[in-house]
Protein backbone atom coordinates (compact mmCIF):
# COMPACT_ATOMS: atom_id res chain seq x y z
CA UNK A 1 0.00 0.00 0.00
CA UNK A 2 2.82 2.40 0.74
CA UNK A 3 4.04 1.99 -2.83
CA UNK A 4 0.72 3.18 -4.25
CA UNK A 5 0.70 6.40 -2.28
CA UNK A 6 4.44 6.93 -2.14
CA UNK A 7 4.29 8.16 1.42
CA UNK A 8 6.76 6.91 4.01
CA UNK A 9 7.01 3.30 3.03
CA UNK A 10 8.61 0.62 5.10
CA UNK A 11 8.58 -3.14 5.14
CA UNK A 12 6.51 -4.81 7.85
CA UNK A 13 8.75 -5.31 10.83
CA UNK A 14 9.96 -8.86 11.12
CA UNK A 15 9.71 -9.98 14.72
CA UNK A 16 11.99 -12.98 14.39
CA UNK A 17 14.77 -13.15 16.94
CA UNK A 18 18.20 -13.31 15.31
CA UNK A 19 20.02 -16.39 16.67
CA UNK A 20 16.77 -18.31 16.76
CA UNK A 21 15.70 -17.99 13.17
CA UNK A 22 16.22 -20.50 10.40
CA UNK A 23 17.74 -23.22 12.47
CA UNK A 24 18.07 -26.26 10.26
CA UNK A 25 16.83 -29.30 12.17
CA UNK A 26 18.20 -31.97 9.90
CA UNK A 27 20.71 -31.78 7.13
CA UNK A 28 20.70 -35.44 6.22
CA UNK A 29 18.65 -36.16 3.11
CA UNK A 30 15.71 -34.33 1.56
CA UNK A 31 13.41 -32.76 2.42
CA UNK A 32 15.36 -30.27 4.48
CA UNK A 33 13.44 -29.03 7.45
CA UNK A 34 13.86 -25.60 8.88
CA UNK A 35 12.40 -24.54 12.18
CA UNK A 36 11.48 -20.85 12.27
CA UNK A 37 10.61 -19.14 15.49
CA UNK A 38 8.54 -16.19 14.29
CA UNK A 39 6.44 -14.70 17.07
CA UNK A 40 4.73 -12.66 14.38
CA UNK A 41 1.43 -10.94 15.03
CA UNK A 42 -1.15 -12.24 12.58
CA UNK A 43 -2.63 -8.77 12.20
CA UNK A 44 0.73 -7.11 11.75
CA UNK A 45 -0.09 -5.89 8.26
CA UNK A 46 -3.24 -4.21 9.50
CA UNK A 47 -1.37 -2.64 12.42
CA UNK A 48 1.14 -1.29 9.96
CA UNK A 49 -1.55 0.09 7.65
CA UNK A 50 -3.32 1.64 10.63
CA UNK A 51 -0.14 3.36 11.76
CA UNK A 52 0.25 4.67 8.25
CA UNK A 53 -3.31 6.07 8.25
CA UNK A 54 -2.59 7.66 11.59
CA UNK A 55 0.36 9.49 10.02
CA UNK A 56 -1.94 10.81 7.32
CA UNK A 57 -4.41 12.02 9.94
CA UNK A 58 -1.76 13.69 12.02
CA UNK A 59 -0.11 15.32 9.06
CA UNK A 60 -3.35 16.95 7.90
CA UNK A 61 -4.88 17.43 11.34
CA UNK A 62 -7.86 15.21 10.59
CA UNK A 63 -9.82 13.86 13.55
CA UNK A 64 -10.75 10.29 12.59
CA UNK A 65 -13.54 8.48 14.40
CA UNK A 66 -14.50 4.84 13.92
CA UNK A 67 -18.18 4.17 14.64
CA UNK A 68 -19.08 0.60 15.50
CA UNK A 69 -22.27 -1.13 16.68
CA UNK A 70 -24.74 -3.88 15.93
CA UNK A 71 -26.90 -3.23 12.86
CA UNK A 72 -29.64 -0.74 13.69
CA UNK A 73 -28.20 0.89 16.82
CA UNK A 74 -28.31 4.26 15.12
CA UNK A 75 -24.84 4.98 13.73
CA UNK A 76 -26.06 6.48 10.48
CA UNK A 77 -28.75 8.52 12.22
CA UNK A 78 -26.21 9.86 14.70
CA UNK A 79 -23.92 10.79 11.80
CA UNK A 80 -26.68 12.55 9.87
CA UNK A 81 -27.76 14.59 12.88
CA UNK A 82 -24.19 15.40 13.86
CA UNK A 83 -23.25 16.63 10.42
CA UNK A 84 -26.43 18.69 10.06
CA UNK A 85 -25.87 20.29 13.46
CA UNK A 86 -22.20 21.15 12.97
CA UNK A 87 -21.68 21.60 9.26
CA UNK A 88 -21.42 25.38 9.47
CA UNK A 89 -18.52 25.01 11.93
CA UNK A 90 -16.71 21.83 10.88
CA UNK A 91 -16.04 20.04 7.58
CA UNK A 92 -17.05 16.40 7.74
CA UNK A 93 -15.96 13.55 5.51
CA UNK A 94 -17.54 10.14 5.77
CA UNK A 95 -16.51 6.59 4.90
CA UNK A 96 -19.42 4.16 4.94
CA UNK A 97 -18.73 0.48 5.39
CA UNK A 98 -21.51 -1.88 4.42
CA UNK A 99 -21.56 -5.42 3.11
CA UNK A 100 -23.93 -4.80 0.20
CA UNK A 101 -25.78 -1.55 -0.13
CA UNK A 102 -25.33 2.16 -0.83
CA UNK A 103 -28.26 3.09 1.42
CA UNK A 104 -26.29 4.69 4.23
CA UNK A 105 -24.00 6.53 1.82
CA UNK A 106 -27.06 8.01 0.13
CA UNK A 107 -28.38 9.20 3.48
CA UNK A 108 -25.05 10.88 4.25
CA UNK A 109 -24.84 12.42 0.81
CA UNK A 110 -28.14 14.15 1.50
CA UNK A 111 -26.47 16.05 4.35
CA UNK A 112 -23.99 17.51 1.87
CA UNK A 113 -20.88 15.84 3.33
CA UNK A 114 -18.50 14.06 0.93
CA UNK A 115 -18.92 10.31 1.36
CA UNK A 116 -17.27 7.15 0.07
CA UNK A 117 -18.99 3.80 0.27
CA UNK A 118 -16.89 0.69 0.82
CA UNK A 119 -18.76 -2.52 0.17
CA UNK A 120 -17.02 -5.33 1.98
CA UNK A 121 -19.10 -8.09 0.36
CA UNK A 122 -18.70 -11.17 2.52
CA UNK A 123 -16.24 -9.33 4.75
CA UNK A 124 -17.70 -8.29 8.05
CA UNK A 125 -15.43 -5.37 8.94
CA UNK A 126 -13.41 -2.55 7.45
CA UNK A 127 -9.65 -2.84 7.60
CA UNK A 128 -6.98 -0.17 7.56
CA UNK A 129 -6.00 -0.79 3.92
CA UNK A 130 -9.57 -0.14 2.76
CA UNK A 131 -9.65 3.10 4.71
CA UNK A 132 -6.27 4.06 3.27
CA UNK A 133 -7.54 3.64 -0.26
CA UNK A 134 -10.63 5.68 0.51
CA UNK A 135 -8.43 8.37 2.08
CA UNK A 136 -6.42 8.79 -1.07
CA UNK A 137 -9.58 9.01 -3.15
CA UNK A 138 -11.39 11.43 -0.89
CA UNK A 139 -8.50 13.51 0.49
CA UNK A 140 -10.16 15.07 3.53
CA UNK A 141 -9.35 18.76 3.93
CA UNK A 142 -7.04 19.99 6.66
CA UNK A 143 -8.58 20.30 10.07
CA UNK A 144 -11.69 18.28 9.26
CA UNK A 145 -13.42 15.35 10.90
CA UNK A 146 -13.47 11.96 9.19
CA UNK A 147 -16.30 9.74 10.35
CA UNK A 148 -15.93 6.07 9.50
CA UNK A 149 -19.10 4.03 9.89
CA UNK A 150 -17.98 0.43 10.23
CA UNK A 151 -19.96 -2.62 9.18
CA UNK A 152 -22.78 -3.34 11.65
CA UNK A 153 -21.16 -6.09 13.69
CA UNK A 154 -19.96 -6.17 17.27
CA UNK A 155 -17.36 -8.88 16.84
CA UNK A 156 -15.03 -8.49 13.88
CA UNK A 157 -14.42 -4.73 13.73
CA UNK A 158 -12.98 -4.96 17.26
CA UNK A 159 -9.81 -6.56 15.89
CA UNK A 160 -9.09 -4.09 13.13
CA UNK A 161 -7.52 -0.78 14.01
CA UNK A 162 -8.25 1.71 11.24
CA UNK A 163 -5.88 4.35 12.56
CA UNK A 164 -8.71 6.29 14.17
CA UNK A 165 -8.19 8.54 17.16
CA UNK A 166 -11.40 7.44 18.83
CA UNK A 167 -13.50 4.32 18.54
CA UNK A 168 -17.12 4.98 19.38
CA UNK A 169 -19.33 2.00 20.16
CA UNK A 170 -23.06 2.65 20.07
CA UNK A 171 -25.61 0.51 21.85
CA UNK A 172 -29.28 1.30 21.84
CA UNK A 173 -31.67 0.76 24.71
CA UNK A 174 -33.65 -1.73 22.62
CA UNK A 175 -30.71 -4.13 22.67
CA UNK A 176 -30.44 -5.31 26.25
CA UNK A 177 -28.10 -4.00 28.93
CA UNK A 178 -25.88 -7.09 28.80
CA UNK A 179 -24.45 -6.21 25.35
CA UNK A 180 -21.04 -5.25 26.80
CA UNK A 181 -20.77 -8.63 28.51
CA UNK A 182 -21.69 -10.49 25.35
CA UNK A 183 -19.34 -8.54 23.09
CA UNK A 184 -16.56 -7.61 25.49
CA UNK A 185 -13.82 -7.11 22.91
CA UNK A 186 -15.71 -4.36 21.15
CA UNK A 187 -16.36 -2.47 24.37
CA UNK A 188 -12.84 -3.11 25.57
CA UNK A 189 -11.36 -1.65 22.40
CA UNK A 190 -13.63 1.42 22.33
CA UNK A 191 -12.94 4.85 23.85
CA UNK A 192 -16.46 6.18 23.85
CA UNK A 193 -19.80 4.49 24.39
CA UNK A 194 -22.93 6.13 23.02
CA UNK A 195 -26.16 4.83 24.53
CA UNK A 196 -28.73 5.71 21.91
CA UNK A 197 -32.53 5.77 21.69
CA UNK A 198 -32.99 6.95 25.26
CA UNK A 199 -36.39 8.29 24.13
CA UNK A 200 -37.51 4.64 24.23
CA UNK A 201 -36.42 4.03 27.82
CA UNK A 202 -39.98 4.23 29.21
CA UNK A 203 -41.06 1.41 26.91
CA UNK A 204 -38.23 -1.07 27.23
CA UNK A 205 -36.73 -3.14 29.97
CA UNK A 206 -33.29 -1.57 29.84
CA UNK A 207 -31.39 -0.62 32.96
CA UNK A 208 -29.21 2.34 32.05
CA UNK A 209 -27.04 2.18 35.17
CA UNK A 210 -26.54 -1.54 34.77
CA UNK A 211 -25.54 -1.19 31.12
CA UNK A 212 -22.85 1.31 32.08
CA UNK A 213 -21.68 -0.87 34.93
CA UNK A 214 -21.38 -3.79 32.49
CA UNK A 215 -19.46 -1.68 30.01
CA UNK A 216 -17.09 -0.41 32.71
CA UNK A 217 -16.37 -3.96 33.79
CA UNK A 218 -14.74 -4.62 30.44
CA UNK A 219 -13.28 -1.13 30.04
CA UNK A 220 -13.01 1.18 33.00
CA UNK A 221 -11.85 4.06 30.80
CA UNK A 222 -15.03 4.30 28.71
CA UNK A 223 -16.69 7.69 28.45
CA UNK A 224 -20.47 7.69 27.98
CA UNK A 225 -22.96 9.79 26.06
CA UNK A 226 -26.63 9.02 26.59
CA UNK A 227 -28.72 10.41 23.81
CA UNK A 228 -31.53 10.15 21.34
CA UNK A 229 -30.26 10.70 17.84
CA UNK A 230 -33.78 11.12 16.46
CA UNK A 231 -35.36 13.21 19.22
CA UNK A 232 -32.26 15.20 20.12
CA UNK A 233 -32.07 14.57 23.90
CA UNK A 234 -28.46 14.49 25.04
CA UNK A 235 -27.12 15.49 21.63
CA UNK A 236 -25.69 18.75 22.98
CA UNK A 237 -23.10 16.95 25.13
CA UNK A 238 -21.99 14.81 22.23
CA UNK A 239 -21.75 17.76 19.86
CA UNK A 240 -19.84 19.75 22.41
CA UNK A 241 -17.36 16.97 22.92
CA UNK A 242 -16.80 16.82 19.14
CA UNK A 243 -16.34 20.59 18.97
CA UNK A 244 -13.71 20.50 21.70
CA UNK A 245 -11.89 17.52 20.20
CA UNK A 246 -11.91 19.20 16.82
CA UNK A 247 -10.49 22.35 18.34
CA UNK A 248 -7.78 20.24 19.94
CA UNK A 249 -8.92 20.96 23.48
CA UNK A 250 -8.66 17.69 25.36
CA UNK A 251 -11.72 16.98 27.46
Amino acid sequence: MCTTCGCSSDEPANMAQPGLQAKPLSVAGPPQKQFHLLERDVLQKNHHDAAHNRQHFEKSDVLAINLVSSPGSGKTTLLEKTILALKDEISFYVIEGDQQTMLDANRIEATGAPVIQINTGKGCHLDAAMVHEALHTMQPARHSILMIENVGNLVCPALFDLGEKYRVVTMSVTEGDDKPLKYPNMFESADICVINKVDLLPYVDFNLEKSKEHALRVNHKLKFFELSATKGDGMANWLNWLRLEHAGIPV
Binding site: L37, V42, D127, C156, L181
Partner: protein
Protein backbone atom coordinates in the same frame (compact mmCIF):
# COMPACT_ATOMS: atom_id res chain seq x y z
CA UNK B 1 -16.70 -14.09 10.32
CA UNK B 2 -13.32 -12.45 10.79
CA UNK B 3 -11.70 -15.86 11.17
CA UNK B 4 -11.50 -15.99 7.37
CA UNK B 5 -9.48 -12.79 7.17
CA UNK B 6 -7.36 -14.09 10.04
CA UNK B 7 -6.71 -17.32 8.14
CA UNK B 8 -5.89 -15.38 4.98
CA UNK B 9 -3.43 -13.19 6.87
CA UNK B 10 -1.75 -16.31 8.22
CA UNK B 11 -1.47 -17.69 4.69
CA UNK B 12 0.05 -14.43 3.49
CA UNK B 13 2.68 -14.47 6.22
CA UNK B 14 3.46 -18.16 5.67
CA UNK B 15 3.88 -17.64 1.92
CA UNK B 16 6.29 -14.82 2.61
CA UNK B 17 8.33 -16.83 5.14
CA UNK B 18 8.54 -19.91 2.90
CA UNK B 19 9.76 -17.79 0.03
CA UNK B 20 12.33 -16.11 2.25
CA UNK B 21 13.56 -19.48 3.48
CA UNK B 22 13.74 -20.95 -0.01
CA UNK B 23 11.40 -23.77 0.98
CA UNK B 24 8.35 -25.17 -0.76
CA UNK B 25 5.78 -25.74 1.96
CA UNK B 26 4.99 -25.66 5.64
CA UNK B 27 4.91 -28.91 7.56
CA UNK B 28 3.77 -27.50 10.87
CA UNK B 29 2.55 -24.14 12.09
CA UNK B 30 2.09 -23.17 15.72
CA UNK B 31 -0.41 -20.42 16.48
CA UNK B 32 -0.68 -18.65 19.78
CA UNK B 33 -4.23 -17.56 20.50
CA UNK B 34 -5.14 -15.73 23.68
CA UNK B 35 -8.30 -16.85 25.39
CA UNK B 36 -9.59 -13.26 25.25
CA UNK B 37 -8.71 -12.70 21.59
CA UNK B 38 -12.27 -13.33 20.35
CA UNK B 39 -11.19 -16.04 17.95
CA UNK B 40 -13.48 -19.03 17.71
CA UNK B 41 -11.36 -22.06 17.10
CA UNK B 42 -14.13 -23.91 15.28
CA UNK B 43 -14.73 -20.97 12.98
CA UNK B 44 -10.99 -20.72 12.38
CA UNK B 45 -10.76 -24.42 11.54
CA UNK B 46 -13.57 -24.00 9.08
CA UNK B 47 -12.05 -20.91 7.47
CA UNK B 48 -8.66 -22.62 7.45
CA UNK B 49 -9.82 -25.32 5.04
CA UNK B 50 -10.83 -22.68 2.52
CA UNK B 51 -7.92 -20.34 3.03
CA UNK B 52 -5.05 -22.83 2.70
CA UNK B 53 -6.14 -24.43 -0.57
CA UNK B 54 -3.27 -24.37 -3.06
CA UNK B 55 -0.98 -22.51 -0.70
CA UNK B 56 2.15 -23.46 1.21
CA UNK B 57 -0.11 -24.29 4.15
CA UNK B 58 -2.28 -26.79 2.32
CA UNK B 59 -0.68 -29.80 3.97
CA UNK B 60 0.43 -28.16 7.18
CA UNK B 61 -0.56 -29.42 10.59
CA UNK B 62 -1.63 -26.57 12.75
CA UNK B 63 -1.20 -26.49 16.45
CA UNK B 64 -2.92 -23.98 18.69
CA UNK B 65 -1.37 -22.83 21.93
CA UNK B 66 -3.81 -21.05 24.18
CA UNK B 67 -2.70 -18.23 26.40
CA UNK B 68 -4.75 -17.53 29.49
CA UNK B 69 -6.00 -14.05 30.26
CA UNK B 70 -4.09 -12.12 32.91
CA UNK B 71 -4.65 -8.68 34.36
CA UNK B 72 -3.38 -6.46 37.11
CA UNK B 73 -5.93 -4.87 39.39
CA UNK B 74 -5.60 -1.10 39.42
CA UNK B 75 -7.01 -0.85 42.93
CA UNK B 76 -4.98 -3.42 44.87
CA UNK B 77 -2.20 -3.89 42.26
CA UNK B 78 -2.40 -7.65 42.45
CA UNK B 79 -2.21 -9.88 39.38
CA UNK B 80 -4.88 -12.41 38.55
CA UNK B 81 -6.01 -14.80 35.86
CA UNK B 82 -9.29 -14.04 34.15
CA UNK B 83 -11.59 -16.20 32.05
CA UNK B 84 -13.74 -13.32 30.83
CA UNK B 85 -12.94 -9.76 30.00
CA UNK B 86 -15.55 -8.66 32.53
CA UNK B 87 -14.12 -10.54 35.50
CA UNK B 88 -13.68 -8.53 38.68
CA UNK B 89 -10.55 -8.63 40.80
CA UNK B 90 -10.80 -11.85 42.86
CA UNK B 91 -8.94 -10.17 45.75
CA UNK B 92 -10.72 -6.87 46.20
CA UNK B 93 -13.66 -6.99 43.79
CA UNK B 94 -12.67 -3.86 41.87
CA UNK B 95 -13.53 -3.62 38.17
CA UNK B 96 -10.57 -1.50 37.09
CA UNK B 97 -7.77 -3.53 35.61
CA UNK B 98 -5.05 -3.48 33.01
CA UNK B 99 -4.96 -6.50 30.72
CA UNK B 100 -1.49 -7.98 30.50
CA UNK B 101 -2.05 -11.11 28.49
CA UNK B 102 -4.77 -13.00 26.66
CA UNK B 103 -5.34 -11.07 23.43
CA UNK B 104 -2.44 -12.68 21.54
CA UNK B 105 -2.94 -13.68 17.96
CA UNK B 106 0.45 -14.74 16.74
CA UNK B 107 2.26 -17.17 14.53
CA UNK B 108 4.75 -18.63 16.96
CA UNK B 109 6.71 -20.89 14.67
CA UNK B 110 6.83 -22.68 11.35
CA UNK B 111 8.53 -25.83 10.16
CA UNK B 112 9.34 -25.18 6.53
CA UNK B 113 10.31 -27.94 4.11
Amino acid sequence: MHELSIALSIVEIAEEEVKKAGGTQVEQIVLEIGSLASIEEEALAFAWQEAVKQTVLEKAIYVIQNTAGRAVCLACKREFELSFMYDLCPFCGDFRKELMQGKELRIKSLIII
